[in-house]
């Protein structure tokens, strides 16, 4: 498989070209899925995702993914995080088939072209995160979850399609360890308020203070690292951010 000979790859950069991976703008996350779902987190084959780390005789096999980018789109955030956190396994989740393929190719191309092995610990899965989060992550496995520029689903009757809701936060609180951080950002004011209010309502999350936000190097990536964020920035759009911590909790 020579990337240079593939028309869907850029000749100059060797990276996959986005326009060949364009899909329907919105998928309906509520319709039944037609892609393989691991029966449980232990059924997820990490050697496929991180072959360098889960190959034969490797001592790091006990490691698990710690960051999850939900609805990762074209994967810009993962690529930035990979160099910022070289020791952390991270995974993107994306519903759209072609977009997931694009991210896969993008990561493979970067692994090939970079010598330092920075991209060996990022990967992507095609899945419906609203239904199958517990199939991918164990309790308390994650230290960071990202929800950047999620689909707004404006209509009231479609609010339950939103990827942040008090109900889904139960599951996110389950896969996040105490002290783990959930990052959300959007350019849609109404959605920003919605996400913040869900997090405020949920007893297992608390807001980060301004100081904590200022000292977290990840925060500035939220509006600059992803394709959607860059688009908003180019158009000079406003963004609305809510960053919360999963707290220890007894019912």
């Amino acid at each position: 498989m020579e990337s240079e000979t593939k028309p869907t790859f850029s000749k100059s950069t060797g990276l996959p070209r986005k326009r060949f991976y364009r899909a329907r703008a919105h998928s309906n996350p509520l319709s039944d899925s037609h892609f393989p779902i691991p029966i449980s987190p232990s059924h997820l084959d990490f050697s496929l995702h991180f072959p360098k780390f889960f190959g034969a005789n490797n001592e790091e096999v006990s490691k698990k993914a710690e960051f999850a980018d939900i609805g990762c789109g074209f994967g810009g955030l993962l690529i930035s995080l990979a160099t910022l956190f070289p020791d952390t396994l991270m995974i993107g989740m994306e519903l759209r088939d072609k977009v997931t393929e694009y991210v896969k190719e993008r990561i493979l191309a970067l692994r090939k072209s970079s010598s330092g092995g920075q991209y060996e610990k990022v990967s992507v899965v095609r899945t419906n995160s609203m239904k199958y989060i517990p199939n991918y992550f164990e309790k308390g496995q994650l230290s960071k979850m990202f929800f950047l520029f999620p689909d707004p689903h404006f209509k009231e009757k479609n609010h339950r399609r939103r990827v942040i809701s008090v109900d889904l936060l139960d599951e996110y609180a389950y896969v996040l360890r105490a002290g783990g951080i959930i990052y959300t950002i959007t350019d849609v004011e109404e959605l920003g308020e919605w996400m913040r209010s869900c997090l405020e309502k949920h007893p297992m999350f608390e807001s980060l203070t301004q100081d904590e936000l200022d000292s977290d190097p990840v925060v500035e990536l939220l509006c600059s690292a992803t394709e959607e964020g860059q688009k908003v920035a180019r158009n000079g759009g406003q963004t609305f951010r809510a960053v919360f911590r999963r707290i220890a909790y007894v019912s």
Binding site: N28, L30, S31, D32, H34, I39, S40, P41, M130, K131, P134, N135, K139, R160, V166, D167, L168, L169, D170, E171, A173, Y174, H202, P203, M204, Y249, V250, S251
Partner: protein
Amino acid sequence: MDIEGGERQTKHEVAPALISVHPFQKSVAITVGSALRVFDLIENRPVSLVDESDGPSHKDSIRAIRYGSSGKLFASAGDDKLVKIWSADSWHCLNTISSEKRVTAVAISSDDSYVCYADKFGVVWVVDLDGINEGKVLPSKKGVQLLCHYCSIITSLEFSPDGRYILSSDRDFKIRVTVFPKKSLQGAHEIQSFCLGHTEFVTCITFVQNPEFAQGYLMSGSGDSSVRLWDITTGSLLDTCDVSPTVKHLESNESEPTQVTVTDICALPNSSLAAVSIQRQVCFVLACIRFQGIVLLHCDLSAHTLSITKVIKIPGGSFIPTSISFSTSTRLLWMVSGASNGSNHPGYTRVRLISRIEAEPSSVLEDEQVPGGTTLLEHLQGKVSIEESVMSAAAEAVRAAMCSLMVKKQYSEENREFRKNNRNDKKPTQ
């Protein structure tokens, strides 16, 4: 068909008959369609239900019935979006709860202070039954959302024996174990574990317990033909028992491909708690779709293993149990077979019992041996003798009903294969 909400066209979907026996065998209840029939086993007479709550009575198929573990309360709920709480003593309806959606499962907390029910959207609701123990009729209440399985139909709800957790199983193969909070009206947000391992919809869950393992282990049955044993604190799968080889072996009709579905499961707590040698043994009975009998499993709670002890075939025609219930005090297993098609259809069912279930041989009781005799059968079945044709029709209807969850999935799977194979966007090889 609105796949989105998990709410499907169920207008003419058949409803399997259900049975539930009082924890101390004071009474037995069956339901077929919208009919709820209760027989008093102490007085040996049919019970007439009295509805004093200001809510309406059941008008559509009842999908869930159960006694609270104290034996004081009884709940019924179903497609008419009603949850009715009855006194299992006076058989007065003490409360009628209106749900926004059809109800698929119901559970009563062991202290009788809460009822939980699940709707077709995958939402579990909780209602505070404060004051109901005095046998008073409560003003009609509204459920408060407790938790939600994202757009998946919930098939079974169960409190853990110690009351700490509420468990919910669904069509998407999973069982969620949630801490049942003290202030449950603010929702149950802390998930203790997910029990993941089934490869088809989960149909039924129940707890196994004995004095050494008072907090109990969970057993589940599924459309994947297996029964599984779980540790709910960690969600670990302890053992899997595939019942399909046993059941298929005994199938009379070999030409038809058999999809074995575990349709119901119930625990048989040990009768003799003093006998230390058998203290770790807990037996299970389960009914399997397409199979005229029940399977008895043995669960070793210290070794964490499941094994099939025996199969009890039910003689005399096409009796495929749709629901089973075990009476600990009399060691009788109650079984019902039947289904109703639409709300106005007069539902006939067949009730059968097995005594000495752990003994060899167990005996399937003749009608005249049944507690309550023909008076009971006439009331619960609709009439004393049920023709063979009614029974086979019921069996067929039940098959369809129980398979519907799986069949829908398979069809979409097939469609997908078809579409995949007919794609014309594959590049020709050069």
